[in-house]
Amino acid sequence: MLRFDRRLLLNFDWVLIVAVFVVALIGLANIYSSTHLYTKVGTPLYIRELTYYLMGAGIALLIVSIDYRVLLTLNYPLYIAMILLLLFALAFGKTIGGAQRWIDLGFFRLQPSEPAKLVLVITLASYYYRKETGKGFTLLDLVVPALLTGVPFILIAKQPDLGTGLLLGFIFASMTLFVKLRWTTLATLLCGGLSAIPIAWKFFLKPYQRQRVETFLNPENDPLGTGYHIIQSKIAVGSGLIFGKGFMQGTQGQLDFLPERHTDFAFSVWAEEWGFMGSVVLLLCYFFMILWGLNIAISARDKFGVLLAFGVVSLIFWQAFINLAMVMGLLPVVGVPLPLFSYGGSSLLTNLAGLGLLMNIRMRRYMGTS
């Protein structure tokens, strides 16, 4: 199984490595800044995050060493494992903040909805790769991938974690639009999707989720309630001005005005302490990484590699975009972390695994389709 080719090392994607390394450093420093005051017992969070990084690097290395085409056979076992984990989380999971999301492994609390994102990417890439006909997909062809997405979506939405659920929807939509669709399919999907919005609003959203959306549209209506997060985050970002308040000097973050400041709102802390300059640097890092990922997709040696790389890129892009738009007050508050940057082991390991896949595809671009 470990057919390690010397060419692999030559094709090692140093650009991707450096980009990830820079974001990781910034992210760790930022977690240190936002949590050093409050971690009085146990391991400091930045040390934990560093541990996750090392674990993730190990996982990525493992993934890199195996040809990604293995996934064409592993995809359904992985998918089934994911569904089981989600069911387990729903049945026995740890309840934090009113949602059942965690499986306690003793040394690690796994959030199964995180790896589920990557498993969905793999599953859809495999499916579309196998079904590709060249004439484009009909509506009927989409029933299976829709079901494949729908099952984890429902399980995650039931936790309830609407943000992650929607993210699955975005991944499905991105990857489906990326493969060839028939015109009629596209038109029907558009109409169906638009008409589904009001129905979903009325029947599927829980009151607190509806309130979040309403608050987002009008945060000043409820400054101490749910609008609070959006307002405080905007104040944090805005008060950073051009050069920021300085490392560990951000008042919004350090004085606890900012909620979830080392997880979902980690970027707000960064923007407050490093200002417009620091924020632009970080943003450019992300978008460089994402565009580089697309470059990897183009250069993949086969269609599966293209689909898989595109899926991983869409996973990272949507997480980053939704999170950044959320902390800047452009989207409602949904629990989507900023990949590599927000504190959290499950998310970090998932994203590093995804980046490992990208590296895998990159390194094997010149290899035959065996």
Partner: protein
């Protein structure tokens, strides 16, 4: 084909990057200053530190009211891991029922978490020491220090110094309190209120950085409070206390004025207000008790009490009569105990009559019949003219609020007030200070001072100067003359001479006041509260308190070169000489003791002759 889609994806990604960058620019640069300000407001709490209020001093610079620290026990929920045990301990130390403390804690749960709840206010030193000793076993319990008024002489001149209280919503709405906030202490009465802006000082400010829960993180800047200015009164502590002691069992007023400046050395109104009751807000039961007290402690009798001046008004009538030339000093009238005028009989207080009386004897023995005759010759408007020039019937302009003007009737006044013509018989009552005439003790004192100082009417003053904490004098209140009174120097001299006789001659009505080394002059007065018919035939002791006459005594000393005028009013004291006289005597005694340095107690109070029923 795939390339094209990747390009589209790339375009979309670049577009979203541009969108996020634009948003960043909008938040951090375009509206950055706004958000920077909001983040400052978020984190800084300004805690105000009360400024020590200015001291109130007497004319010699002796403090009357200063400040003392007031220790309150406060409780912060956040700091206590085991509140129940702490509260139990604390209740024992404070000697309070545990349920009382729990009620207060419960009442405080509405407040933000960082705001401590006040459990007990103004604890004594022993309790303070007990709490400090057990400091470590009482987590969450702290001592809060607040400046508070310290009344060194208890209820000293309480109507004038006034008291402090929390500013009310109605007061907050007034422009003079524009800079105040609810919860601030302000002067509610007396000089504390009138000189509020000088006394209050500048609040200090503590700029604290707080976290989202309001807990203090660190101090950013401390602006110390600046103490208020000291207010030096014209009152004399020793003299005021002598008056208050002499009046301890009486309701009434004592006014002492420097005749050549208008400065008030004593302003005593009894019963006093108990200022301690007002500290921290008076309870409604205590307030109702004050309202319903028949001795009316809420009334500042020196400037708000309006009484008929009785025979003290004969000074005014006498001045008008000599000055207007309606009588000569030698002219005599016969007093047979009464004067018949119209259909009525106007009696003299001495039922047997004084016989033939001239000007001197008329004043010394206070013969009513003499003054009836003089009054008839003068007419009410002449009397009113002189009374008004002596400051009666109008406000004196003293700095204290709610001064009453009194009434000096005239024919025009009656026409306006009752739409009736003046009856000549009414002039007879006015001539002896009865009828419509109403004066305040301050007015009577001021009149006396003007008559004996050579005829200058001064505005009464109770504030001497205002001094900044650094010793700089901000404001002095110089004596203010309101000009000369009507009346010739000759007539003033005659009156003064007669008034000395009131105290010093055998027939005088105020012999009781006489001091061995000082020549005092004065005039007694008895003010009828009700018509004689109510009390006709009753012996004095059987007359109900509220129907008894008010007793007046107004005076000056030393006669050769008057320095002070002393006016005493004892409500329902019945006789000017016996009720009001000793009070004035006590004041003079203390005044000359202080002035001459050696207490000279020699002569006993001369006994009042039993058969001689004086005014």
């Amino acid at each position: 084909m795939l390339k094209k889609r990747i390009d589209i994806a790339m375009a979309l990604i670049i577009f979203s990057a541009a969108l996020l960058l634009t948003r960043l620019w909008y938040l951090q640069i375009y509206r950055g200053d706004e958000y920077a300000k909001l983040s400052e407001i978020n984190r800084i709490r300004i805690q105000e530190i009360a400024a020590p209020r200015g001291n109130i001093l007497d004319r010699n610079g002796q403090p009357i009211i200063t400040n003392r620290p007031r220790f309150n026990v406060v409780w912060s929920r956040e700091d206590a891991p085991n509140p129940d045990a702490v509260i139990k301990d604390l209740a024992r130390i404070l000697n309070e029922d545990i349920s009382v403390l729990l009620d207060r804690i419960r009442a405080g749960t509405e407040n933000p978490r960082y705001m401590p709840t006040r459990l007990k206010e103004d604890i004594d030193w022993e309790t303070l020491a007990a709490i400090e000793n057990k400091h470590l076993s009482l987590p969450g319990v702290r001592i809060e220090v607040m400046p508070s008024r310290d009344y060194l002489y208890g209820d000293f001149a309480s109507h004038f110094v006034g008291y402090l209280g929390e500013i009310s919503p109605a007061e907050l709405a007034q422009s003079r309190y524009a800079k105040y906030q609810s919860g601030d202490q302000i002067g509610k009465q007396g000089v504390e209120k009138i000189f509020e802006e000088y006394l209050k000082g500048e609040k200090g400010r503590n700029y604290l950085e707080v976290d989202v829960h309001g807990f203090e993180q660190r101090q950013m800047q401390l602006q110390d409070p600046y103490p208020g200015n000291d207010l030096q009164l014209t009152l004399d502590i020793e003299l005021q206390r002598a008056a208050e002691e002499a009046m301890a069992d009486k309701a009434g007023a004592v006014v002492v004025m420097e005749v050549n400046t208008g400065n008030l050395l004593v302003m005593c109104s009894t019963p006093p207000l108990h200022l301690q009751e007002f500290v921290g807000g008076i309870s409604s039961t205590a307030w109702n008790k004050l309202l319903n007290n028949p001795l009316n402690p809420l009334l500042n009798k020196t400037i708000q009490g309006q009484y008929p001046p009785g025979s003290t008004f004969k000074i005014v009538t006498a001045l008008a009569a000599i000055s207007e030339g309606v009588i000569t000093p030698d002219a005599s009238f016969f007093c047979g105990g009464a004067l018949n005028f119209g259909n009525r009989r106007y009696g003299c207080w001495k039922k047997g009559g004084h016989g033939t009386v001239d000007f001197q004897r008329a004043l010394i023995e206070s013969c009513d019949v003499y003054f009836y005759s003089v009054g008839m010759r003068l007419g009410v408007d002449n009397i009113a003219k002189y009374a008004t020039s002596l400051g009666m019937g109008r406000k004196s302009g003293i700095e204290i609020e709610h001064e009453k003007a009194g009434i000096i009737p005239s024919s025009a006044w009656k026409q306006q007030r009752y739409k009736q013509k003046w009856q000549d018989g009414e002039t007879l009552s006015v001539a002896i200070g009865q009828g419509y005439v109403l004066t305040t003790p301050l007015q009577v004192c001021r009149m006396t001072a003007a008559v004996v100082n050579g005829g200058t009417l001064y505005r009464p003053q109770i504030v001497h100067s205002i001094t900044a904490p650094d010793g700089k004098i901000l404001k002095t209140f110089a004596p203010t003359s309101e000009g000369k009174i009507l009346g010739s120097a000759h007539s003033l001299a005659l009156i003064k001479e007669a008034l000395v006789g009131v105290v010093n001659s055998p027939g005088g009505t105020a012999k009781v006041v006489k001091l061995p080394d000082v020549l005092i002059g004065g005039k007694t007065g008895t003010a009828q509260v009700v018509g004689l018919t109510h009390v006709e035939g009753m012996s004095e002791k059987n007359i109900p308190y509220k129907y008894r006459d008010h007793a007046w005594f107004t005076s000056f000393a030393p006669a050769e070169k008057p320095e002070i005028a002393v006016t005493v009013l004892v409500e329902h004291g019945q006789h000017g000489g016996s009720a009001a006289g000793p009070v004035a005597r006590a004041v003079y005694k203390r005044y000359f003791e202080l002035k001459n340095g050696i207490p000279k107690e020699t002569a006993e109070t001369p006994p009042i002759a039993k058969d001689e029923k004086e005014e």
